[in-house]
């Protein structure tokens, strides 16, 4: 291969170099690709917005005509089994949970707010000191810039919401959604990745930790057996015949 002179930019007809140029160009997005990406985003956002609207509308229609059942109208079936009662108990817990969580969330919010206040008070002597004043100025201007950015993003959000609604009027998304769901369900790589990461958490310390906790389990069992003459736990799960054949 003959050396070329040092003129720059270097030009050559060597196909391998042309290939390198093509490879680099993969890293840049064309305006068409950016538009495709925006279109996909609009489709996803539009599906979510329209789906939520349709769901809310339907739910309110149902709730409007449905009368709530009062406790005194309930007739308890004489043949009600323990299994039925368990089902009702689960349902009761299910409907009680959101309110319970709502109350606990309030507490958590208060706690996190207090933590924030406490940290702020602790940092106030530092942030109010002359050493910190140049930084404080920058912080204020950064906050002002941040507000402008947020305002701009909010306006963009308003525009894109309309765009997303419009794009859905031109597209039937059912097939597309089904295809995507099918693809995700059949995609086992994600599942395998998490499985390997979880089971493979093995190192000297972790293994030792696991062995020790397993030893404590055995020790607890031994103590309980000696105190209460407890039966020896089965060393393997015995598969029951009723569970063997699927759900």
């Amino acid at each position: 291969m003959q050396p070329q002179d040092d003129d720059f930019p270097y030009s050559s007809n060597d196909p391998s170099l042309a290939l390198l140029e093509d490879k680099n160009s993969v890293l840049t997005l064309t305006s068409q690709q950016v538009n495709d990406l925006k279109g996909t985003l609009r489709l996803v956002v539009g599906s979510a917005i329209n789906g939520k609207d349709a769901y809310t509308k339907r739910l309110r229609q149902i709730q409007a005509v449905q009368e709530s059942v009062k406790p005194d109208t309930i007739i308890v079936d004489a043949n009600e089994t323990a299994r039925d009662q368990l089902k009702y108990l689960l349902l009761g817990v299910l409907f009680e949970t959101p309110e319970l969580l709502q109350r606990s969330l309030g507490t958590i919010e208060q706690v996190s707010s207090k933590i924030y206040g406490l940290v702020s008070r602790m940092l106030t002597p530092i942030t109010d000191s002359w050493v910190f004043s140049p930084v404080k100025g920058q912080y204020d201007s950064a906050a002002a810039r941040g507000e402008k950015v947020i305002d701009r993003l909010i306006m963009k959000g308003r525009i894109e919401e309309q765009n997303s609604r419009l794009i859905l009027q031109q597209q039937t998304i059912d097939d597309l959604v089904n295809e995507i769901l099918e693809y995700i369900i059949l995609k086992t790589e994600v599942q395998e990745l998490i499985e390997e990461a979880g089971i493979g958490v093995a190192g000297g310390v972790v293994d030792e930790f696991r062995d020790q906790s397993s030893n404590v389990d055995s020790l607890v069992d031994q103590k309980l057996r000696s105190i209460f003459h407890k039966r020896v736990p089965q060393q393997s799960a015995t598969p029951s015949s009723d569970q063997a054949g699927g759900e």
Binding site: L89, V201, A202, R210, D217, Q234, S236, S240, E247
Partner: protein, 174 residues
């Protein structure tokens, strides 16, 4: 402690995982549960603190109170935060149980939740197991302590959902 294949020759149709493992004890399971609770609490607290800090940085607390008023005036009285928290907790457990059979806490302790026949839990069974936690918790956590007495080391939630928690054998961890 592990069983040999000959001891379980009649269970050939079941997953090999069940045949070579044995049920996890109370201590390991409690540790795994506590680790999961810590992870969930940290995620929630960090998330809330981060959002609050960001909102205060951008001085958008006015927007938050506006959204709050909007939500309170809505027919849906359930707080969006409560719903999100519920979804986070339910999603955390059901996602990991259904997909791989263990939560991060259980993975750290080398435990796995499987059905009685050794197969993975379906989404419905994971949900049932999660809500059965409440059944186990209501009578002063008796359903959890049941693991100590039960010959198969199953809690009430395991019995309801037809599941068991096994040690992951060492040769399968690598």
């Amino acid at each position: 402690m592990a069983l040999t294949t000959s001891q379980t020759a009649d269970s050939g149709k079941h997953a090999p995982f069940v045949r070579i493992s044995h049920p996890a004890g109370f201590f390991s399971r409690s540790m795994a549960f506590v680790i999961d609770l810590i992870i969930l609490s940290v995620v929630q607290l960090v998330g809330t603190a981060l959002i609050q800090t960001l909102l205060r940085f951008f001085r958008l607390t006015g927007l938050v109170s506006y959204v709050k008023t909007l939500l309170e005036s809505s027919t849906f009285q359930i707080g969006s935060g409560a719903v999100l928290l519920t979804l986070l907790v339910i999603g955390y457990y059901t996602f990991f149980w259904t997909l791989v059979g263990f939560t991060p806490g259980k993975a750290l302790l080398g435990l796995k939740v499987v059905r009685k026949n050794g197969t993975k839990l379906s989404f419905g069974r994971s949900l049932l197991r999660f809500f059965s936690y409440w059944i186990s918790a209501i009578p002063l956590f008796l359903g959890f302590f049941w693991v100590l007495w039960d010959s198969k080391r199953q809690g009430w939630h395991d019995k309801i959902a037809g599941t068991q928690v096994l040690y992951i054998p060492k040769n399968l961890r690598k």
